[in-house]
């Protein structure tokens, strides 16, 4: 037995050294065979009572361990509740990765495993983009589409070309030893480093009071920006691999740019409609409803990739199209499942990427060159700030609501680099890019700088820039009323005077939608809104409970206010004031469905769920009240039905 164990351990070690050449999230599926330690000769072995066969499960085992580790890390740093608000999660994930990389490096004296192109683009990226696209508030997005498009496309081009050319200029200076990096390579580097990933900032945005405009700009820009970057990257990469570049190629490149973008969007929309149509018929098989959503989205991604169109645009378009109709067709549980599962996938994906990033930092993949790295960082910051500033001046002319300096600062400073930059640099073919390691080092430095330094300091800086508010005393009931009243007035006036003429197209689309699309894509006999259906379900459940358990009630009574005539008012006690204040704050729902801050790592409770629960609570209370009233024999003081007891 001992001999057998030793033989197997040796075999395992051998298998491990072979497979170390491949990444753990191994792309190649078929290479799991372990070589037999004893060669090809047939040898008789005794029956083994206990065996250790690591190579057999190596790939799934390592994947599971990675994911498990990532999730444990997350638990770890949410234990201290203040931590996530000070430090963005990405920082913490990178630190964990660094730690892990250090351990692996220390233990094995070789570079830790790194990511592989297919794994990233086919498996890790789609969930992140799907998540962003699905939770994108469509109305706000289209209202600001012009600006978002402007920042994403022109801004990225500006950054990419600016950084590329200035770095090329630096490379020409022979003192730095960089003269072998060509213009094209610099442009490629510029394009991949301009991929902005503000998700870390968005998480911080929840604590800063950010207006809706800014939020959707940053969010939308990041989404489109990723797509543009990938397209540019592929374009420049193919240019790099061509021997000569003719003028026709440049035109082809530009045309390709548009085709890739628009083609991706069309595929996405098409599949989105198909998905919506499919869910129309799924009411008998509720259990697999979420599956359709994920399958169709993923299908749109890989179909687009098959044609070398932009998969990111496809999956985003698919998610945005599918969103509305699917939500109405699927059951409540499926809807919740979809949301949670999506968050889970994207969270895992992002975590894995950041941990890989940390792991890859440690090791021998680097080549340090002071000039290149520091100038890269410098140019990234300068070009981003310049770009945002110049673009804003231009776009403000066309906007009805101009962007203030504070907005611009947030957009510029919030240009954190993240996963996409990192992955793209790893995927550079080393044959075409002899200085690949230099690029990797530079990218990692930029990412670390932006994520750590900018990520941590953005919040204090924004608070510093913020206008000081007058000190708030506890608002009186009447003030609460006034404020709410006033908000409604303001919203009403805004609706009356309309925003920027987009209303015309939106109304037109709504009419078209109601007439044709909804009839086609949504199942008949639907209750008007999810609130009503949820409420109905809760009501049935409650009725059953009531029948079984009988009544319990202890309603806090209050001073009777119903028996005075006009003009006379009796004073109210503080508890009653409290109760009133509670009612007001609970009942004055959000005026417009204000966008919840997007957070990759959590799902905000749905407004309609909260409303439905409250409606149910009040209904229950009123049922109780009416039963009590009929049961009570005498009425000394008419008791006011007061809902103040529900917290």
């Amino acid at each position: 037995v001992l001999a057998a164990l030793a033989a197997l351990a040796a075999g395992a070690a051998e298998a491990r050294t072979i497979s170390d050449g491949q990444p753990p999230g191994a792309a190649a599926m078929g290479t799991g065979t372990s070589p037999s330690p004893s060669g090809t000769a047939f040898e008789e072995t005794r029956l083994h009572v206990f065996t250790l066969d690591y190579p057999h499960v190596q790939i799934p085992f390592e994947i599971t361990l990675w994911i498990l580790l990532a999730s444990l890390a997350k638990i770890g740093f949410h234990l201290y509740h203040k931590l996530p608000s000070i430090v963005p999660e990405s920082c913490l994930l990178i630190l964990v990765g660094l730690l892990l990389g250090g351990i692996i490096f220390g233990a094995e004296e070789k570079s830790p495993p790194v990511m592989n192109s297919d794994v990233f683009f086919l498996y890790l990226l789609p969930p992140i983009v799907l998540d962003a696209g699905y939770f994108m508030p469509t109305r706000l997005f289209f209202e600001n589409f012009g600006t978002i498009f402007w920042y994403a496309v022109v801004g990225t081009l500006w950054n990419a070309i600016g950084i590329g050319i200035s770095l090329y200029g630096i490379c020409q200076i022979s003192a730095f030893g960089l003269t072998d990096i060509t213009l094209l390579q610099n442009l490629l580097f510029g394009s991949l480093i301009s991929a902005v990933d503000p998700v870390a900032v968005l998480a911080v945005f929840e604590n800063i009071h950010v207006n809706e405009q800014l939020y959707i700009l940053v969010f939308g820009e990041s989404l489109l920006n990723d797509a543009i970057t990938v397209v540019l990257y592929n374009l420049f990469k193919s240019f790099c691999q061509m021997r000569t570049i003719k003028v026709i190629d440049i035109f082809a490149g530009i045309a390709n740019f548009f085709i890739v973008g628009i083609g991706g969007v069309l595929i996405g929309i098409l599949l989105g409609f198909v998905a919506a149509f499919t869910t129309r018929f799924t009411h008998k098989i509720r259990v697999i409803e979420p599956l359709f959503v994920f399958l169709y989205s993923y299908l749109s991604y890989i179909t687009a990739e098959m044609f070398h169109l932009s998969g990111i645009m496809a999956i985003t378009a698919c998610a945005m199209t599918m969103n509305k109709y699917v939500e109405e067709n699927v059951s409540q549980k499926s809807y919740t499942t979809i949301k949670y599962f999506m968050k889970m996938l994207s969270s895992v994906s992002e975590t894995l990427i950041f941990i890989f990033m940390g792991v890859s930092t440690v090791g021998k993949n680097h080549e340090w060159n002071w000039a290149f790295v520091s100038f890269t960082l410098l140019f990234c910051l300068i070009w981003r700030a310049l770009g945002v500033f110049v673009l804003t001046q231009i776009i403000n002319v066309f906007r009805t609501i101009p962007l203030t300096f504070k907005d611009q600062f947030i957009i510029a400073y919030g240009g954190l680099r993240g996963a996409i930059c990192f992955s793209l640099v790893f995927l550079l073919p080393p044959a075409v890019f002899p200085r690949k390691k230099l690029f990797i080092t530079a990218v990692i430095v930029v990412i670390f700088f932006t994520v750590f330094i900018q990520g941590i300091t953005i919040r204090p800086l924004v608070e510093f820039l913020d206008v000081k508010r007058s000190n708030k005393k506890q608002p009186a009931v009447s003030e609460e009323i006034y404020n709410r009243f006033f908000d409604h007035v303001k919203t009403g006036i805004e609706d009356v005077c309309g925003h920027w003429g987009h209303n015309f197209w939106r109304d037109k689309f709504k009419k078209f939608d109601n007439k044709y699309l909804r009839r086609l894509l949504i199942r008949e006999n639907q209750p008007k809104s999810s609130i009503v259906s949820l409420y109905k379900k809760l009501e049935i459940k409650h009725a059953i409970e009531m029948a079984e358990s009988g009544m319990i009630s202890k309603v806090p009574s209050s001073v009777s206010l119903s028996d005075y005539h006009e003009g006379k008012i009796k004073p109210l006690s503080p508890t009653e004031m409290e109760n009133m204040r509670e009612i007001l704050t609970k009942n004055l729902y959000q005026i417009r469905h204000r966008t919840m801050s997007y957070n990759r790592h959590s799902l905000a409770a749905d407004a309609s769920e909260k409303q439905a629960k409250e409606i149910l609570i009040r209904r229950r209370h009123s049922l109780r009240e009416s039963l009590r009233k009929t049961n009570s024999l005498s009425r000394e003081r008419p008791v006011l039905a007061f809902c103040g007891g529900f917290g």
């Binding site: 206010l561 009653e576 009942n587």
Partner: protein, 208 residues
């Protein structure tokens, strides 16, 4: 389009661009007629969800807001009136002095006051206040009227205590006058909040 006398609009400090935008909106609402009636406001889909929709529409036709000497409600308004109402929502300008700011604030608060005071008698009585709160909370159909009423009563109580001080048990508080109303809003900086963001201040008043 329309012969708006320049003098009356000069005080509005709205740029020509914004006037054009509002004009387009006006035409859309009025379906290319010269005046708008109350029914035209039904074509705004978002307004339906607003609980105080009635009061907002009403405010557009309120003659007091339209700076006309008479009282009551107009049947229809033209573009000049529309602009007049919109002018209540212009943001403050950088170069305003104390007196202008004060006047500005009073104008805006007067607009709000008129929305509360539906019978145009210059006072917000308890019944009117109750009416406001009920409308405000009408978005939630299951909240009893009683609660809304008691909230309104509580608010009036507060108003009374701020404006009149300690009341004897028999004293009757007539209603909130405009001066009392001003007192209540003292803490809230209405000038910066009460503006529709698109009416942005950059330029001096000029219009065709």
């Amino acid at each position: 389009w329309g012969s708006a006398p320049a003098t009356s609009l000069l005080s509005l400090a709205v740029t020509s661009e914004q006037i054009e935008h509002l004009h387009r909106r006006f035409k859309q609402l009025s379906q290319d007629q010269l005046t708008i009636r109350k029914e035209n406001f039904d074509s705004i889909p978002d307004l339906e969800f607003n609980p105080i929709r009635g009061k907002i529409v009403h405010a557009f036709f309120d003659k007091r807001n339209l700076r006309q000497e008479s009282d009551g409600l107009a049947d229809e308004i033209n573009f000049e009136d529309f602009l007049t109402i919109m002018s209540y929502f212009r943001p403050i300008e950088m170069n305003m002095d104390e007196e202008q700011l004060d006047r500005f604030r009073k104008e805006k608060l007067k607009f709000l006051f008129h929305m509360y005071d539906s019978d145009h008698d210059g006072k917000i009585t308890l019944q009117e206040y109750r009416n406001v709160v009920e409308e405000l909370l009408s978005g939630n159909p299951h909240l009893e009227k009683e609660s809304a009423r008691s909230i309104a009563d509580g608010a009036m109580m507060e108003a009374a205590s701020i404006c009149v001080g300690q009341m004897g048990p028999d004293q009757v508080y007539e209603g909130i006058t405009f001066e009392d109303f001003l007192k209540m809003w003292q803490g809230i900086d209405i000038e910066t909040k009460m503006h529709v963001r698109f009416l942005n201040v950059d330029t001096i008043a000029h219009c065709y």
